[in-house]
């Protein structure tokens, strides 16, 4: 079924538009030195792309924590500096089978840990928007999928894969002014995706338009036997059919669409400029027939603590394998090392191989799992995660088919189809300020709840009138997020497309 949909989309788009418009490898060689989005670029394909495949002619970049046989997979870590995976990730295989040109690997925060794409052995990614600024005014592309977002924003590819554990696609999409989808957990295979936190990690797509995101999504959102968390087909179709049954009656998706505005997503740290723009968008949506519903997700304030306990705990476990023995960087132990303990030998490689942020998170997670802390930290965080899921299930009209016991909200009157909120509390910060404070964590307040809930979330740039000569900060991109119930990714993408069009009509 998906394939048919994909073909329809393909036909409606001018294929040659992509393949002949520009030579992306040329663009990369011109722009990448200043943006630093790509860390490896593939050879130009020797054969011209076949034209009858869903992604024919599309140049797609891959975040460097997704395994590729033909290019290194460094995860921006010294630990995997020279690592080449013996296999391709399922998503890479699917992209190639769909005719895409895998153009290269993109910079990211080490093992996906960070919000600013500065924790990387490849050097920080520079936000390509308003590129004429001086060096002291260079801004972050956001993280951890900063290279993927910047590559799209700078026109170095048609689309890019990223990964999103707590906002790592949506935040850079917001900072770089591109569209980024974190799909429902379990829709896109994680086989070949280097684990940060298995229960939260999602592969997602960044592109300049929602249409392109959808094209790629349709090609790679398939069940995969190699991923034990891959959602079964029955559940996928239950959710998507339920969603389309609610919407098919009206001609415009916005007509009678119930949009929830969660009050907890406007923390005091948020910039007033962003709030103004979001208000403006809401007003426009309302004028096009959408029903705006204020909603409350009361557990949101605990989401950040829950997220950081769970994500770091899983990270401490997942990163235990990097000891330099089977693969990766191995550092010989010094003469003063106690060689009778294996852990002491490993400590040498791990101390050198992991960056500061990764070490910090491993330590936090190790503590959260220790016998004394487990109940108060890990288990408590899991309980909060359940409360957050309950919050979401209460406000959505569609039940969560991915949960153990999907149940419809009892009172449908106040329920909504999607939630809408700002993607970030501010526009892209200056790279100079990137390391200084805790604000990079506070930012995550807006993105981690959807991750904890396993829900689809799409950040689209708020359409704004182009002001070519503007020099004030207003011209930096602002993203707005659409969050749906599990499995309603198509609906979220359609709403995203409608948002993009607000300024065009």
């Amino acid at each position: 079924m998906r394939l048919n949909v994909a073909r329809k989309w393909t036909k409606s788009l001018p294929l040659r538009h992509y393949s002949t418009r520009c030579d992306y490898r040329q663009v990369i060689s011109e722009k990448n030195p200043s943006v630093n989005a790509f860390v490896n670029v593939s050879q130009r394909p020797s054969l011209p792309p076949s034209e009858d495949l869903p992604l024919s002619g599309l140049a797609i970049a891959i975040k460097d924590n997704i395994a590729t046989k033909s290019l290194p997979t460094t995860c921006s870590s010294s630990m995997l500096r020279d690592f080449v995976s013996p296999f391709d990730a399922t998503v890479v295989k699917l992209l190639e089978e769909s005719g895409a040109d895998i153009i290269g690997k993109t910079n990211c925060d080490e093992f996906g840990m960070g919000s600013l794409n500065v924790n990387t052995i490849h050097g920080p990614v520079k936000n390509p928007c308003n590129a004429s600024r001086s060096q002291s005014e260079e801004r972050s592309a956001g993280g951890s999928s900063g290279g993927s977002a910047a590559a799209v924003a700078a026109g170095m590819c048609d689309a890019a894969l990223g990964t999103d554990t707590g906002g790592s696609i949506r935040l850079p999409a917001s900072y770089c002014g591109v569209t980024g989808l974190k799909p429902s957990y379990g829709l896109i295979s994680r086989w070949g995706v280097v684990s940060y936190a298995d229960s939260l990690d999602c592969v997602g797509i960044l592109a300049s338009r929602a249409d392109t995101v959808k094209r790629v999504f349709d090609s790679i959102a398939q069940h995969d036997n190699l991923d034990p968390t891959s959602a079964p087909l029955e559940i996928r179709s239950l959710a998507s059919e339920h969603a389309s049954s609610l919407l098919k009656s009206s001609s415009s998706i916005l007509k009678d669409l119930r949009i929830g505005i969660p009050q907890e997503y406007f923390p005091e740290e948020i910039s007033s400029e962003i709030v103004d723009h979001v208000r403006n968008v809401i007003a426009q949506l309302k004028s096009r027939g959408a029903i705006i519903v204020p909603v409350s997700l009361p557990t949101t304030e605990y989401a950040l603590s829950s997220y950081y306990v769970l994500a770091t705990a899983e990270a401490s476990s997942n990163l235990a394998r990097y000891d330099g023995v089977q693969y990766g960087t191995y550092v010989k132990s010094g003469l003063d090392t106690d060689k009778t303990k294996t852990a002491q030998i490993y400590a040498q490689s791990r101390t050198v191989g992991f960056g500061h942020e990764v070490q910090k998170r491993i330590l936090l997670g190790t503590y959260a799992l220790s016998a004394d802390a487990f109940d108060n930290y890990f288990l408590q965080a899991q309980r909060i995660r359940q409360l957050i899921k309950d919050d979401f299930n209460r406000v959505f009209r569609i039940p969560n088919y991915f949960s153990d016991s999907p149940s419809q909200s009892e009172d449908l009157a106040g329920t909504v189809d999607v939630l809408l909120h700002p993607s970030a509390i501010r526009t892209a910060p200056l790279l100079e300020d990137a390391r200084s404070d805790l604000s990079s964590y506070v930012q995550d307040v807006l993105t981690v709840p959807a991750s904890l809930g396993g829900l689809p979330a799409l950040s689209v740039p708020i359409p704004r009138p182009v002001e070519p000569n503007s020099t004030n900060s207003d011209s930096w991109p602002i993203g707005i997020s659409i969050v749906g119930q599990w499995g309603t990714d198509d609906m979220v993408l359609s709403v995203g497309k409608a948002l993009e069009g607000l300024n065009e009509n």
Partner: protein, 554 residues
């Protein structure tokens, strides 16, 4: 495969000296104190009068599946080349994910049913963390919080002892580790990932055993159950079954003492020796330190001195930081699947014994029990890999007896001769080429005295070494094995041999004629040698005696 090459390039030998292996299993053996009262009655043991010994056992049994627990790699044999049964998941390559092998679950369930456990309809997998060279991912996937099955029981019979029940606390599925071999000269470790990620069942008993002999009885009974279920080879010497034993002692009538755990015992004999040494050690400690408890420790066993030694104290116990595995989620077992397991359960050893004794009363003879045990307990592979029916010794026995053969003769030839010769060839019934009908023909020829026992054994050895589809009779004829006197009567050939012997041994003949009958054996032996085993000793004896006295009288 490119991966193999990559692994060879990328595998490095960690330069380190390892003092002790970390535990394979958690040291959380919890004594349920309430359950002690009245569960087993105190029995005086002359080795340690006035003391009660309490033993509980954690058994790790390798699951007899084709493939590993969470990967597609085939399980390996001990003699396979190192690092040849490895896929990227086993080496913990980034981006790999586990995939539960349902065959391992089925074999775990069979074991759970055979051990009368309650099966958890929902169980889950957890990660147990520690850094060690035999653990590529830095964690072992096990079932800490919600095991596959709980609350079982095993009826144990020991030679000469009363049968008793050992309660089974739980059965959990978990991954085996890799094998690391340390070379003290070069101070390097070699790592073989063939075993990494193989499926294990951890079977935890309650502390219901009271002596080394009872512990041995429990392990042997458990072995026979695992083999009958086809869930494990249960071979301690080859490492497919390993035991950790918890031991405490207390004075008669007092509450149980503090336990010590002895790790990684790999034979029943060592286990009994370890328990005996540990009991004496703990009693000596308590005698020297009145009012104190035995310090809780994890101990190892020295196979040269037959003593236990301290590995680590309770305070040094590592924190394994157990965490639910987010990839594997919950293992949900349907009623239908559990029923399927129950309805296809292979018969238990005691059930087979009862059936055989019922069907073949001649086997009830006490003298045949040892052979019957070989058939039932040290059974060949009744069940093949992944729990598939592989025929095995019981089916051979049934098929051989179906043709109206003497069950006692069949039992003897099957267990003593065929299984004995296979064992010395390191082969099994399943992988030898001799068919049931060929073996049946051989037994028939022995029964009809077409072959003597000696010739039968020779023919069997020949057939195992030189497999052939031709009729056994033909091969026997070709090898000149057919008995010289096919029936109890004589034959010209045999007659000639006897006459020749009498001619060759005049002084012995004289002695026999003088009344020294013992010397007759010497003449019979001469004939037997000359016949190359084709003669029946009894027939020869009668014939020689006849001829000796015939000549005298003549």
């Amino acid at each position: 495969m490119s991966y193999q090459r990559l692994l060879q390039q990328q595998t490095r030998l960690a330069a380190s000296a390892f003092v002790v292996a970390p535990s394979l299993c958690r040291s959380s053996y919890i004594f349920n104190r309430r359950s002690f009262h009245g569960f087993r009655k105190y029995q005086e043991d002359p080795r340690w009068p006035g003391w009660q010994v309490i033993v509980g056992i954690e058994t790790h049994a390798q699951i007899k599946s084709r493939r590993k627990l969470f990967s597609d790699a085939f399980n390996s044999n001990l003699d396979d080349e190192p690092n040849t049964h490895v896929v990227p998941f086993d080496a913990a390559f980034p981006g790999t994910l586990p995939k539960l092998n349902p065959k391992c679950v089925d074999l775990g369930l069979r074991t759970a049913v055979a051990l009368k456990c309650d099966i958890n309809r929902r169980s889950s997998f957890d990660r147990k963390h520690y850094f060690y060279s035999d653990l590529p991912s830095g964690y072992q996937i096990t079932q800490q919080y919600s095991p596959l099955a709980m609350n079982g029981a095993l009826q144990v019979t020991t030679a000469g002892g009363e049968p008793f029940t050992v309660r089974i606390k739980q059965i959990q599925l978990e991954q085996d580790t890799a094998k690391s071999t340390f070379n003290p000269r070069t101070r390097t470790s070699r790592i073989d990932l063939n075993r990494a990620g193989a499926g294990l069942m951890e079977i935890v008993s309650e502390p219901d055993m009271r002596s080394p002999e009872e512990a041995a009885g429990y392990v042997r009974t458990l072995q026979s159950i695992l083999r009958a279920m086809g869930s494990s080879d249960g071979n301690m010497e080859q490492g497919s079954m390993r035991c950790d034993v918890n031991i405490s002692v207390n004075r008669k009538g007092e509450t149980p003492g503090t336990r010590c755990e002895i790790k990684n015992l790999n034979s029943v004999r060592f286990m009994m020796a370890a328990i005996t040494h540990e009991v004496h050690r703990q009693i000596a400690f308590l005698a020297e330190n009145p009012g104190e408890h035995v310090p809780q420790e994890t101990r190892g066993f020295n196979e040269d001195t037959f003593t236990t030694f301290r590995l680590r104290s309770k305070e040094d116990a590592p924190d394994y930081r157990y965490m639910p595995d987010a990839n594997l989620g919950v293992l949900v077992l349907s009623e239908a699947r559990i029923n399927e397991i129950k309805s296809t359960l292979p018969p238990l050893p005691h059930e087979v014994r009862e059936r055989l004794l019922e069907k073949y009363p001649v086997l009830r003879d006490k003298a045949r029990q040892a052979s019957l045990d070989v058939l039932l307990v040290n059974n060949e592979r009744v069940v093949g890999l992944d729990g598939e029916d592989a025929g095995g010794a019981i089916r051979w026995f049934d098929e051989l007896c179906e043709g109206g053969r003497d069950p006692a003769l069949v039992l003897n030839w099957l267990t003593q001769e065929l299984m004995g010769q296979l064992a010395s060839r390191k082969e099994t019934l399943a992988d030898n080429t001799l068919s049931v009908s060929q073996f049946g023909a051989l037994v028939d020829m022995v029964a009809s005295r077409t072959l003597t026992g000696t010739s039968g054994k020779f023919l069997l050895r020949h057939m195992l070494a030189n497999p052939s589809q031709r009729p056994m009779k033909e091969i026997a004829e070709e090898l000149e094995l057919i008995a010289l006197a096919p029936s109890t009567s004589s034959s010209p050939q045999l007659h000639a041999l006897c006459t020749a012997a009498i001619a060759a041994l005049p002084s012995e003949v004289a002695a026999v004629r003088a009344g020294n009958k013992n010397v007759l054996n010497k003449i019979v032996g001469h004939v037997m040698r000359a016949s190359r085993g084709r003669a029946d000793a009894l027939v020869v004896r009668v014939l020689v005696e006849e001829l000796v006295f015939e000549e005298k009288n003549a």
